[in-house]
Symmetry: C2
Subunit: 156 residues, 2 copies
Amino acid sequence: MSDKSGNAPELEATDRAILRELARDGRCSFTDLAERVGLSVSAVHQRVRRLEQRGALQGYAARVDGDQIGLPMTAFISLTPIDPAAPDDYPQRLEHLPQIESCYSVAGDESYILQVRVASPLGLEELLRQIREAAKVSTRTTVVLSTPFENRPPAI
Amino acid sequence: MSDKSGNAPELEATDRAILRELARDGRCSFTDLAERVGLSVSAVHQRVRRLEQRGALQGYAARVDGDQIGLPMTAFISLTPIDPAAPDDYPQRLEHLPQIESCYSVAGDESYILQVRVASPLGLEELLRQIREAAKVSTRTTVVLSTPFENRPPAI
DNA sequence: AATGCCTCCCGAACGGCTTTCGGATTCGCT
DNA sequence: AGCGAATCCGAAAGCCGTTCGGGAGGCATT
């Protein structure tokens, strides 16, 4: 155990370098990866496997252009429970809606913020109806006009 | 040209299947991919290359656990320009800050919404200072308490 | 109807890559 | 000193990525 804090599972420099590279290029080959972090291929392979089963590497995804798959519209939807005494199971009530990409529980006036992706204003209207019905919440929607940049790799 | 609308570049069913699989598993091998979409390896390879240079496939990224890389805190920051007459170059003024993962231009009271990732409340405070200084904006911050789900693959 | 062009598909082949294994090294602990 | 755990490396086997040539189908022109 090299963890000083005893709470947050810290990571070593080499592991961080691996995560940095894979966050930038998720399809990077093990051979390239090994070269970039200065290790043998088999050592890198072993570390990646460990990072995966440790949960530090949660998966790999292609970034696809929303416009080209017919989902050009993005919005943020803030949720406020109608019945403050209702049990807080909103994520479970909403996860079946595939238009909802992300769900965050937040501090502030509202309880949750959803990030959604739809085909059109009509699609957004229909989604709002489904959200209100499924979760018994009132909603406040902020429509995204453009996305200067998105999902940049974190500075590891 | 199979595009009926003449504006939005629509995609074919096979290409959509490829994008769906790669959005779910960005490191999927071409062999597996070919099997899943019912094509030969070389045909899939050709289509993926075309999707990449067409911009439908914008890249590949590993999803990493923010907690384990020392960035356990997420927040949304809404921006309002201080000088309404100032030129709108906020994204360029902010892109050098690596803590900012995403930047959205939005409709509504505020002009932009940023999604950021920091190590601690002190890190957030310092980032807010940098944002206000770099972009001459006032900020409103919503701290994320937990993330029930995030960045789910879209329903293609 | 035939020709040529374009697009898309496939199979083969080569080189590179992934994955696993055994063994060497280091480090910490008894 | 001796032992165990962790980590590294190199080698080997098989699988995979990448490219190439060629064939099938659609479409327009002749």
